[in-house]
Assembly symmetry: C2
Homo-oligomer: 157 residues x 2
């Protein structure tokens, strides 16, 4: 384990996470072109995560999802992604933001442009959190060991 | 109370907080030129706060401080503030970031330039949190009603 950084860093100098996605294989493949720099972890933060995420053209932030406990917040740094939700779509620009309370809109970002998209995503960490996926046969449960996934009927992937 | 926003917003379109500072008067005066847009609150988030903070030339982010429980994270959007800590100073540029674990470096940002500084600041909310101020006769205690302040000997300001 690298000790936490105690001095400021250029966010883009932080190495991207090695594991592209923690989703089961058929879903992980859909996260191609997404890169996460785990900025909060670098400084030893544990109560919330702050990621600098990059979406290549055609990439998406996650499967369409909501959380039962976790709150999320997104701030667009560059590029013009589309926010897809279960209540419609919203075009985003740099300097725009949105917060997602628990049990709120299901959501994800998709990059339908030819330019890279960069954004900050923030989420707290609740050991009871469950991720729900309206468009996919998937349920995520958070624990001290990270996310574990099953099908909606509880059987493993 | 305005109901929480459910659609994305341009962060700069969010109205700045009316109360310039919750510090007692002699300290609040030193926060002149600082403006906070409480982005997380606008969307009904309660577990952590996300502020877009603007520092006019000569302004500072806060008194030099650390928290006993709260974690903080800062991402510079524009301008070149100086990070002052109890272990030295660091020049910052857009795209730089730093996280402050609880009981870590005492810190604040100062804008010694002629240009405005803009940054995102994120912090969780812990009802047991205490703010410590190495350079000032001040102690802050967090509760459901917000921050309350005393001198270091416990007497009120």
């Amino acid at each position: 384990m690298t000790p936490p950084a105690r001095a400021p860093l250029a966010a883009m100098d932080v190495q991207p996470r090695r594991k592209a996605s923690s989703y089961p294989a058929p879903f992980a493949a859909r996260m191609s072109g997404r890169e996460k720099r785990q900025l909060g972890d670098v400084f030893g933060l544990s109560r919330f995560g702050v990621n600098l995420t990059t979406l290549a053209p055609g990439a998406q932030s996650a499967l369409l999802h909501r959380h039962t406990r976790q709150e999320e917040f997104v701030y667009i740094l560059s590029g013009t992604p589309t926010l897809r939700t279960d209540e419609g779509e919203f075009p985003l620009q740099p300097g725009m933001c949105i917060g997602f309370p628990a049990n709120g809109l299901a959501h994800h970002l998709v990059n339908r442009t030819a330019e890279e998209v960069r954004y900050l995503e923030i989420g707290d960490r609740d050991p009871q959190d469950v991720g729900q996926y309206p468009e996919d046969d998937l349920v995520a449960r958070f624990s001290a060991r990270g996310w574990s996934f099953t099908r909606k009927d509880g059987t493993p992937w």
